[in-house]
């Protein structure tokens, strides 16, 4: 158990503590760890300075991001119970330490020319920070906003999606200031960028663990009583142990995995994709600026999709939303594949919608799980489902980068580098669409006795 300042008991809110102080605490964590979505800005400088002439630079520079996403899923699944036991302050301090530590180790790796340290630092250590940081504010917000769970979790999850909006221009400017990019770029310049960003995030995230509080036992918003009927009341409960024995869990696992794979494939290689599609004949500085803007636009779409589509799912239903994410997503990929670089506007609209569906998929899945398995152990089930994110974090970038590297080696130029990988994405989305159609209500034999579920939920 955490002791002293970090102990859960020390974070119980005093009388008069406003619950509206919790969203900025959560945002200070999620806006920071959402930096992961701006990883692609680091790819070209790392390839140029630490991996010059390496034909597998595309795949190699994706490794820190891929490992980070793997560790995000694993640490969310493994440490979920510990986070609940030790409280949000402990979790936020651990998350901040790991995330910032990842930047510092990466900086060291750049200074001494060891790329593997960037992989271990940013990917492994930073990835643990991502996972613990991701789940901690979400569960705390749910406790403070039982009357508005969608709004509260939407704010935090939107913050995670919007982190790149800050990190993308910040990284670009720091890399330019420290000589980590452009003519004569040095690994020390990239390292200095990692170092300064680590310090900035350490300060920024401190507000999260200083401000976060948990509500006292039995606390309710003024004038609010828990609903006894309707969707929010829940119809039945399934334990986490039973949930993973149901076909519904694994069908949804595939749905989430392939929906994330489709989005992450573009996201992780966003800057190089823009350069390959629209960089021919343009000045290097202009292309770099446009690519950074493209990364930021994707981040905005990802962020808006989280709160927008998740809110819409309350009216249209979870299954219908995933029909859209997967079905329309496949059509959007087909449009990009067919129109290639003929219109930047069409390309932007399609890729932004794909990324909004990616974000929407993340934000809608807790409600989908609640619909299928009830509220009894939905957090633990969610943690297990996030392993789909880990798999997708490898699958998406691997498909896009491996094929792009092979195409580059074969002297293929422009959008044609991505045709095969985009077709694979269409197939994956189609498979996900079918899996979503196969999801039916969970069989009675997996339901918990209501008394058991109630006791367990209060434990």
């Amino acid at each position: 158990m955490a002791a002293g300042f970090l102990a859960r008991e020390r974070t119980i809110a005093p009388p008069g503590w406003s619950r509206w102080l919790i969203p900025p605490a959560a945002l200070s964590i999620h806006l920071a760890i959402g930096q992961a979505y701006a990883w692609s800005v680091f790819k070209t400088p790392l390839a140029a300075t630490l991996l010059p002439g390496n034909p597998n630079a595309g795949v190699l520079t994706a490794l820190p991001f891929e490992l980070g996403i793997i560790m995000l899923g694993l640490s969310a699944a493994l440490f979920g119970t510990k986070v609940d036991a030790n409280g949000p302050r402990w979790a936020m301090v651990v998350a901040s330490s790991c995330f910032v530590g990842g930047f510092l180790v990466s900086a060291l790796g750049c200074y001494i020319g060891q790329f593997w340290l960037v992989v271990v630092g940013y990917g492994f250590l930073g990835g643990i920070g991502l996972g613990i940081g991701y789940i901690s504010p979400v569960s705390t917000l749910i406790k403070w906003f039982p009357d508005r769970p969608g709004l509260s979790t939407g704010i935090a999850i939107m913050g995670f999606g919007g982190g790149a909006l800050i990190a993308s221009p910040l990284t670009t400017q720091l890399l330019a200031a420290f000589g980590g990019t452009g003519q004569g770029a040095t690994a020390a310049g990239v390292g200095q960028t990692f170092l300064v960003m680590g310090i900035i995030y350490a300060i920024f995230m401190s507000v999260g663990w200083l401000l976060v509080r948990v509500p006292p036992d039995g606390w309710r918003p003024e004038g609010w009583t828990p609903p006894t009927t309707g969707v929010l009341a829940g119809k039945f409960d399934v334990s986490a142990r039973n949930a993973i024995r149901t076909p519904q869990f694994w069908l949804l696992w595939v749905v989430l995995c392939f929906n994330v794979t489709a989005g992450i494939g573009i996201l992780e290689r966003a800057a190089p994709i823009w350069t390959d599609f629209f960089g021919a004949g343009a000045a290097a500085a202009a292309v770099t600026a446009a690519a950074a803007g493209y990364v930021a636009l994707l981040s905005l779409a990802n962020m808006l999709g989280r709160i927008g589509w998740s809110t819409t799912s309350d009216y249209l239903g979870r299954k219908n939303m995933y029909r859209g994410y997967l079905g329309i997503g496949a059509l959007l990929y087909l449009t990009i594949t067919l129109t290639t670089n003929s219109s930047p506007v069409i390309f932007l609209i399609c890729s932004m919608l794909i990324l909004s569906f990616y974000g929407g998929g993340f934000a809608t899945v807790p409600a989908y799980l609640r619909d299928l398995f009830g509220t009894y152990q939905v957090g633990a089930i969610h943690g297990r489902l996030l392993t789909a994110w880990s798999v997708a974090g490898v699958l998406g970038p691997l498909i896009v980068n491996a094929i792009a590297d092979a195409q580059i080696a074969a002297k293929v130029e422009g959008p044609a580098r991505y045709t095969t990988s985009f077709i694979i994405m269409i197939v994956l989305l189609a498979i996900g669409f079918v899996c979503n159609e196969l999801i039916k209500p969970v069989a009675d034999k997996f339901h918990e006795e209501r008394s058991t579920a109630t006791t367990g939920a209060q434990a």
């Binding site: 008991e9 920024f204 507000v207 202009a286 600026a289 446009a290």
Partner: protein, 45 residues
């Protein structure tokens, strides 16, 4: 039983709240500003 570590009166909560929201909204506004000024570059050339 351990007491909560914050004993500041509720009136201070408003000030803390304003600072906390500015803490996250100012960087976010910076990100949005950087986004807006980059949009023309996406369509140049």
């Amino acid at each position: 039983m351990t007491t909560p570590d914050s004993t500041k009166p509720a009136t201070n909560t408003l000030v803390i709240g304003i600072i906390a929201w500015l803490w996250v909204l100012i960087p976010f506004a910076y990100g949005l500003y950087q986004l807006v000024i980059k949009i023309p570059a996406l369509f140049a050339g």
